[in-house]
């Protein structure tokens, strides 16, 4: 637009106009396009329904690799690409470089035919099959499992129901497990309101729309999520690295997935309202989820500024399990920022890696 010098315009003003034009272009580009994320080389080794199991291509020679494979289980309502956001800022890339044989389960997006899927199905059908495949491919009978957010609920349930299946190390990240405090966080308050009827939502939609869940998450910190995020971008438009980081994160944030109606009913009814999991009353396919059966080494990672799963929801698991080797790690950051924010490489990943290295050979 300003390719040729404008007549009667002072050079300072012209350069300022050029800068504004460039910033506007950048703003439009990053807010209307998708960044290329999840670039660490991988291959699909197993699929079931919408779920895919990836194995990341090792970069460390086999003899130097850790023997126990690492299995990553993310939440159901967002893409797991947050674990592999962009080159140079990817937890998966980091762990692969540290010599881990890394596997990631992508749950995929449930269709109308999946509206009846429950925790029972994810924990007792999908996870055991994926783990069977990991064992076959890696040749190891033992494995480590890292669950984040609802992935941590699924991992905890699995660890309690199948304690003899080779699970050596259990890593829980921002795990919402204990809902005894009915004033801790907005979610707990909202879903415990008498007018909030999860059955009505599921009956109306089948699967709970990703947009609805996203609204709930964003409404917990409305100013930060709806305005602050864009102001941060505006302030950093001159900084290409900050812009690319924002672009990648925005790509992930806006890629929403519906949650199957069956799981939503259990999540609100059995967990958020009746707190069945931590009280040992949760039953999946006739089997009671007894947390005291968990014997795997446990690392419980809690984000100090987590407004989605406040620390009180994650702490009490430590007293419920039978694991002799258990650690609780409190790190800087929020629910997602803890693992994907600018400080993750410094404050979170090295601690997870250090803990895991000592227990993976």
């Amino acid at each position: 637009m300003f390719s040729s010098p404008l007549p009667n315009v002072p050079p300072e003003l012209e350069s300022e106009l050029k800068r504004i034009e460039e910033n506007a272009r950048t703003l439009v580009r990053v807010s209307t396009t998708h960044a290329t994320i999840a670039q660490t080389p991988k291959q699909v080794i197993w699929t079931l329904n919408k779920a895919k199991l990836y194995r990341y291509v090792p970069v460390v020679p086999a003899e130097q690799r850790h023997k126990v494979p690492l299995f990553l289980v993310f939440a159901l309502m967002n893409r797991p690409t947050i674990l592999d956001l962009r080159p140079g800022h990817s937890f998966i890339e980091y762990m692969v470089k540290q010599g881990f044989d890394v596997y990631l389960l992508d749950w995929g997006a449930p269709g109308p035919e999946d509206k009846g899927l429950k925790f029972d199905d994810y924990v007792l059908e999908y996870l055991p099959r994926a783990i069977r495949k990991i064992k076959a491919v890696s040749g190891s009978e033992e494995f480590s499992m890292l669950g984040w957010c609802i992935g941590a609920i699924l991992s905890t349930m699995y660890a309690a129901l199948r304690p003899d299946d080779g699970l050596k190390n259990l890593l829980l990240l921002t795990a919402p497990l204990d809902f005894s405090d009915k004033t801790a966080g907005g979610f707990v308050r909202w879903v415990n309101d008498a007018h909030f009827d999860p059955d009505k939502i599921v009956d109306a939609f089948g699967n709970v729309p990703g947009e609805m869940i996203d609204y709930g998450a964003k409404a917990l910190k409305p100013v930060e999520n709806y305005i602050g995020s864009y102001l941060t971008l505006w302030d950093n438009l001159d900084n290409p690295r900050a812009v690319e980081a924002w672009h990648a994160m925005n790509t992930w944030v806006t890629d929403l997935i519906d949650m199957s109606g069956g799981v939503y009913r259990q999540l609100i009814g059995d967990l958020y309202r009746k707190n069945k999991l931590i009280e040992g009353k949760m039953v999946l396919r006739g089997e009671r989820v007894d947390l005291s059966r968990i014997r795997a080494n446990l690392l419980n990672v809690i984000a100090l500024a987590d407004h989605i799963s406040p620390s009180c929801q994650s702490e009490s698991i430590m007293t419920k399990v039978s694991s002799k080797d258990q650690h609780m790690l409190k790190v800087k950051g929020g629910h997602i920022g803890m693992m994907a924010g600018s400080g993750a490489q410094k404050y979170t990943w090295p601690h997870i890696e250090e803990w895991l290295v000592a227990r993976s050979d």
């Binding site: 079931l48 035919e113 415990n192 309101d193 409305p222």
Partner: protein
């Protein structure tokens, strides 16, 4: 000059954003907000359900008359496919087990070599016996 004024503007903006954010967080965590959103959602779902039912009934009738599969037919087919996938997955795992069991067995070549080495041992034993005589 511009930088200084921008800095003071940004500082002022951030301070007001911070207090606004705190106020909003307190608001969304209040009982009043929970009740209001709960009631709003309940009203929306109650109001929309009759329309949804009408659309469903109309679509079902239209598709049936056109001799086309219904949404429920496609869903049930997809569910059956998932069940078939699970069975295939189990078969795949069993095949893997069988293959690894077969691989762990001694190969036919090794089995064939074993008697010949016995024969060689017999020959050596016979030769030793002759020497002894």
């Amino acid at each position: 000059m511009r930088d200084a004024s921008m800095q003071s503007w940004n500082a002022m903006r951030d301070a007001s954003m911070q207090s606004w954010s705190k106020m909003m967080i307190d608001f969304v965590n209040s009982e009043a907000y929970s009740q209001a959103t709960g009631q709003w959602l309940d009203t929306y779902l109650t109001m929309s359900q009759p329309f949804q039912r009408v659309i469903e009934t109309t679509m079902t009738q239209a598709l049936t008359r056109l001799n086309m599969p219904l949404r429920s037919d496609v869903i049930s087919l997809a569910e059956r496919l998932t069940n078939v996938e699970m069975r295939l997955d189990d078969l795949d795992a069993k095949l893997d087990d069988i293959l690894s069991a077969i691989r762990s067995l001694p190969s036919p070549q090794q089995t064939a070599e074993a008697p010949s080495s016995n024969q060689a041992a017999d020959t050596r034993a016979k030769a030793k016996a002759k020497e002894a005589h």
